[in-house]
Amino acid sequence: MSIVRSRSGSIATRIVEYALLAFFALVFFAPIYYLVVGSFRPGDQVLTGVRGFFPTEFSLENYIDVFRRFSNSTTGYLWQFIAVSVVVTALVLVGGLVVNSLAGYALARMRWRGRSFVLLLVTVLTIIPFEAVALPLYYMLSGSRNTILIQAIPFVASAFSIFLFYTFFLGIPGEIEEAARLDGAGPFRTFFTIVVPMSKPAFATVAILTFLAQWGSYLWPVLMVTDTSVRPLPLELSVFQAAQPPEWGSVLAFGVIFILPVLIVFLIFQRWFVASIASSAIKG
């Protein structure tokens, strides 16, 4: 294979390509590496210029400190931050997949009065970023501050996800659904037993994008959460790092705990993740 390929690239270009790859790999990976190495160093050894970059120390002190520190009701509990993030993200993810795919399907495949108006509305709403409505929402919902549910519900429906599903469903052939319909299956049964299993790439893409946005969500919790018991990970991380004096070792250990599960899932599904986003992006 490499012989065939070499037609388009001499050894010189190959070297240049590897040099570029190595350079950018370093650029992308160095900050992550710095985070991990730093989390194993004593707190006062993290900020030590270039020396902080080399893994000269290895201590689990920071991790132990994080577990110990977040184990009373004043500081909040580590498991609580994680649970809040997991529950909120799961609600948005699962709720969003159901609600948005149904709406996308109704727009792509059903004929009903007002459909074209709704399609226009959804299209217009894709332009409105959440940031623009954050303040009025905060004002309207200030009575529900410090609840789990209010962190999730505003993000369940997404005009963008509906639109993604809509374009995907437009592109799948209708014959199979037609056959199911002739067999007497109602629209909901047709959707859940025929369409959903056929549409894994669309569901995967929406799930990945929703997950990444929600897991790192910061603005809404800043406005809505003051109580440590319902604080999600990103908000707690920002509070923790702002402490004076900063305890860098522990902050970085907290960061690793925050990102590690995501990173592991990402590494397992990496190929699939990339293929799915890339293919939905160029569709349509």
């Binding site: 570029l20 959804v122 940031e131 303040l135 319909r181 910061y218």
Partner: protein, 320 residues
């Protein structure tokens, strides 16, 4: 990841509802209802709320009812020296950020996509490393880069520059110095999100028919001419899409600035954006009406950009 402008492929979708399929007439609205209700409640109504609130002086927890002030809060954004100076500076920062980030990040994303599209040994490893920053939430990105940009010789970047130059380059306060603060935010943002554009462009590159490259190389077209005549036209629509996406994201810049302002000694004059001002005015200073007026202006800017870019795409023949 598609354009709302994409013309629907089913020919009849624009036509009036014929009530054709028997059971579908009730099922359609029923299926769409949960999504629509939520969108209306948490996006459409708050959006109208922002418009209404922008005409009132509102404070949360204040027993006095909101007071109607007309367009006063809009006028202040441009004419009241106390507010307009900061607001216009924020707007300027937004534009400066977008003007640097959009072309730079898009070009970089295209270059990287071409690079990782090559079939070279070990490419899986490189791809994995390139994609990694994408899964990092901004709250964590801010922590890491705060350490990299730390101001004295203990900062990673300063330490590195000092070591490389043998001490000739002294420590620099990257986040605190107004001339480098926005640049630091730009580097951080590109680092975190360039992979996203890269993935989308990679998908587009892989959909360019290989025959075109073969034909080009038979015509003895060089690398550069292949790039200009095959690659760029092949991914043009995706490129426009990515540019649009990046522009809108650029205007939404908030998390990084707010996070660093709360913790590190960032130069806030040089880095604050409109969104930052919306939140500090509305939330931190409890001046919700004034914040809402800024949010409406912000939204108008984002919408105008989206419409201009969409119009450009239409002229170019649409995405298909």
């Amino acid at each position: 990841m598609t354009f709302p402008t994409t013309r629907s492929r089913s020919g009849g979708s624009r036509s009036r509802p014929r009530g054709g399929r028997r059971s579908a007439s009730a099922a359609g609205p029923l299926m769409a209802a949960p999504g629509l209700i939520l969108l209306t409640a948490f996006l459409a109504i708050p959006f109208l709320g922002a418009v209404v609130m922008s005409f009132f002086r509102i404070q949360l927890g204040n027993p006095r009812p909101p007071r109607f002030v007309g367009i006063e809060q809009y006028a202040r954004l441009f004419f009241d020296p106390d507010i307009s100076a900061t607001f216009l500076r924020s707007l300027g920062n937004n534009f400066a950020f977008a003007l640097v980030v959009v072309p730079l990040q898009t070009a970089l994303a295209l270059g990287l996509a071409i690079l990782i599209n090559r079939k070279l040994r070990g490419m899986t490893v490189f791809r994995t490393l390139f994609f990694m920053p994408l899964v990092f939430p901004l709250a964590l990105v801010a922590v890491i880069w705060r350490l990299i940009f730390a101001r004295d010789e203990n900062g990673l970047l300063n330490g590195f520059l000092g070591a490389v130059s043998g001490g000739a380059i002294g420590p620099h306060d990257w986040l605190g110095d107004p001339s480098t603060a926005l640049g630091a935010i730009i580097v951080m943002s590109i680092w975190q999100s360039v992979s996203f554009q890269m993935i989308i462009l990679l998908g587009a590159l892989q959909s360019v028919p290989p025959e075109l490259y073969e034909a080009a190389s038979i015509d003895r077209a060089g690398r550069w001419s292949q790039f200009v005549h095959v690659t760029v036209p092949g991914v043009r629509n995706t490129l426009i899409f990515v540019t649009l996406l990046t522009t809108i994201f650029a205007f939404r810049l908030f998390d990084q600035v707010y996070l660093l302002d709360k913790s590190a000694s960032i130069n806030i004059e040089a880095t604050q954006t409109v969104m930052y001002q919306v939140i500090t005015t509305g939330y931190d200073q409890n001046n919700i009406g004034q914040g809402a007026a800024m949010a409406v202006v912000f939204l108008i800017i984002v919408a105008v950009i989206a419409l201009i870019q969409r119009r450009l795409i239409r002229q170019e023949g649409g995405v298909e």
